[in-house]
């Protein structure tokens, strides 16, 4: 009887232990991808089926688990635009409009396959619960579920390199089960300061057949920024933060 009770308790505890492992892996992935607070330059490239491209350059700051700011430096038509994210709240500042407007995570400020949630990504652990992990040959397969209905993707399947604990591929799904896009992390690079992570992210989507978007990182480094920077009133002045 005692043995049966122990077995029962073990079986009850098993999924919790597995979930804990998945959560720990996800936490490692978050920190291996980026320091909690950092600054970086990113280039977004949208590639159309005919091969023509449109490129954007963004200066990005992140503080803590859920504050991100991105300033458009190029092309000239978008220069001075700034986007801010605090948790589920997102805003876009257009210099001509002169005031920030609320945007939603499923929109895209660049009009590319990357939506605002991709461009202003915060820690995965802030948005998703790691439900399970499946160990495969060289990778862990994490199943993630959005914590709230305001998160852009309802579920993620994340393949994580076992050795580096960095994501290799992520599939993003809508609540209907529809595959919205696939993200491919490539080109692991040493940025210095103990940051070694993919410098290239490619995405494609069955909803945009033939189109591809690419994100490149450069000059990624740890940073420390005042909280006031991550406010709407600061958006018109973000340009002054750059060294």
């Amino acid at each position: 009887m005692k043995k049966l009770l122990c077995l029962g308790l073990f079986l009850i505890a098993l999924p919790a232990a597995a979930a804990m492992d998945a959560a720990q892996i996800l936490q490692k992935v978050d920190r291996n991808l980026e320091p909690e607070s950092y600054e970086t330059y990113r280039k977004l490239i949208d590639i159309q089926p005919d091969g023509s491209r449109k490129e954007y350059v963004l200066y990005t700051l992140k503080k803590g688990r859920d504050k991100v700011l991105a300033l458009f430096l190029s092309p000239p038509s978008d220069k001075g635009r700034a986007t801010l994210r605090i948790g589920d709240n997102m805003w876009l500042y257009l210099p001509d409009v002169g005031r920030p407007i609320r945007i939603t995570s499923l929109q895209s400020v660049t009009g590319s396959v990357f939506n605002n949630a991709d461009i202003l990504r915060i820690d995965y652990t802030s948005e998703y619960d790691a439900e399970s992990v499946e160990e495969q040959k060289d990778v862990y397969l994490l199943s993630l579920k959005a914590k709230t209905g305001e998160v852009a993707y309802d579920r993620l399947k994340m393949w994580v390199d076992k050795r580096a604990l960095l994501p290799v591929t992520i599939e993003a799904y809508a609540s209907s089960g529809l595959l919205l896009k696939t993200l491919h992390f490539k080109d692991v690079k040493d940025f210095g300061g103990g940051i070694k992570r993919p410098a290239t992210l490619e995405t494609d989507s069955p909803l945009y057949k033939g189109y591809k978007s690419v994100m490149l990182w450069s000059a990624l480094k740890k940073g420390s920024f005042p909280d006031e920077v991550f406010t709407l009133n600061y958006l018109p002045r973000v340009q002054e933060l750059r060294k």
Partner: protein, 435 residues
């Protein structure tokens, strides 16, 4: 000695692969050093615009605007616009400037203008404190087409809400406090806006300093603004707005404003003008919704407390009709100067009515063409049911170039808001090159 064909093919393939690899490496190269901050930055755009108007010869505003001019059914206008936007960083602060120059030509007139839209110097003694003085455009409010709490700015054109506008000379500052908890941000923006004979003349009566302020709160994931402008060149006013995301694709917003003791000229059809002084309350409710197929809907209802009811507007249009009937019959009219004067004031504003509905639907990447965005906008005077329908095609797929084609179709019976405008249709095309 010749190589076997298979070897040549392999060699060519190898070269091709090497070239492709080199191209791929080149394709994704990125060096951030080219984007470091510079002491002087200059950008802007050059725009060429063509507008073809179908004039509404029976409309009150056509008649008043074309008095003593050759009468026309159409008008073609070409406009070249240059806007320069720059930053200069001398010492501790930053000097921002924004200039606007245009050259306009149609069958009736040639015109040009050079305006300094913005020119302000700012310093930041602390990340949470900004002090600024100069000419600046402050835009308050959350509405897309209208902003009842836009107390210290020139009126927005609801036909082009994202168009840059001339600012006002002011001293202002920003005080920001960020904290943890449900109240995440507190930001206060005090403003002093002087009006003299040569400064901010069109803001209101000269000889006032015009204090104003806005308090912004991010409270429980909701943007809240409380705005105030003291009595001075204009009657005192206060108001608030809010904006909130209620889903990953759904935003709601609203504004409310009260102007105290606003003097409003009201005429009857016989030209008896009375000045009504009363509190005016305006408000706006709106939403923005994005579908799974990337269609964005924007809808707003605007109650313009400073506007004219259907009956008041009707009386004014009847006055204009009577004035022109007198002019035709007798060669002169006592009523015409009154009608003309009112048209240059409150009756001649772009949205002088009391209740408006605004609806816009825009489709991203329509017909499978990336950067092609068709949209349709309807603006309706809810009281007299007249409206303006604006189909639009926008293409931004060419580097640094925006191409936009719009058709304005105005529909309304006689003695209605959109039925009495100067034109009944307008076709507009512009090419805007950013540099």
């Amino acid at each position: 000695m010749s190589r076997p064909p298979g070897s040549r093919v392999r060699c060519s393939l190898l070269l091709l692969m090497l070239a492709a690899h080199a191209a791929a490496a080149e394709e994704y190269s990125f060096d951030a050093s080219a984007f470091e901050k510079k002491p002087f930055e200059l950008g802007g755009y050059l725009q060429l615009k063509q507008e073809d108007f179908a004039l509404n010869r029976s409309g009150a505003f056509y008649k008043l605007g074309n008095l003593n001019r050759p009468q026309r059914d159409t008008l073609d206008r070409s406009t070249a616009t240059l806007e320069l936007i720059g930053k200069l960083r001398p010492g501790v602060g930053t000097f921002d400037f924004h200039t606007h120059s245009d050259l306009q030509r149609d069958q009736l007139a040639h015109d040009h203008s050079n305006v300094l839209y913005e020119g302000a110097y700012s310093i930041r003694p602390d990340p949470g404190v900004t002090l600024e003085a100069g000419k600046r455009t402050l835009r308050w409010g959350k509405g897309y087409a209208w902003n009842p709490i836009g107390f210290v700015e020139r009126a927005k054109d609801p036909n082009d809400p994202e168009l840059s506008r001339e600012g006002l000379v002011m001293a202002n500052s920003d005080l920001i406090i960020n904290r943890e908890g449900p109240l995440q941000t507190i930001a206060f923006t005090p403003v002093l806006l002087p009006v003299q004979s040569d400064i901010n003349r069109d803001f209101g009566a000269a000889g006032h300093l015009n204090p104003a302020g806005k308090l912004y709160l991010l409270y429980y994931d909701t943007d809240l603004d409380f705005a105030w402008q003291g009595k001075g060149s204009r009657p005192g006013r206060f108001g608030m707005d809010f904006s909130r995301n209620v889903g990953s694709n759904f935003e709601i917003h609203g504004e409310w404003a009260r102007i105290q003791q606003l003097a409003r000229p009201v005429t009857d059809s016989a030209g008896r003008i009375a000045t009504r002084t009363e509190n005016a309350t305006s408000y706006l409710l709106g939403l923005r919704y994005l579908t799974q197929t990337d269609t964005t809907y924007i809808a707003e209802y605007y109650r313009n407390g400073t506007g004219y009811s259907e009956q008041e507007a009707r009386e004014y249009y009847q006055l204009v009709d009577t004035a022109f009937a007198q002019l035709q019959q007798t060669g002169s009219s006592m009523l015409l100067p009154k009608a003309l004067s009112l048209s240059q004031g409150a009756y001649g504003r772009p949205n002088a009515g009391m209740d408006y509905l605004y609806f816009r639907a825009q489709q991203k990447d329509a017909l499978g063409v990336v950067y092609f965005q068709p949209s349709i906008t309807v603006m309706m005077n809810w009281q007299d049911r007249s409206y303006q329908l604006t189909p639009e095609l926008l293409y931004t797929g060419v580097k640094n170039l925006d191409l936009r084609l719009r058709l304005f179709l105005l529909q309304g019976a006689s003695l209605t808001d959109f039925g009495e405008k100067q034109n009944s249709r307008k076709l507009e095309f512009y090419a805007r090159y950013y540099f």
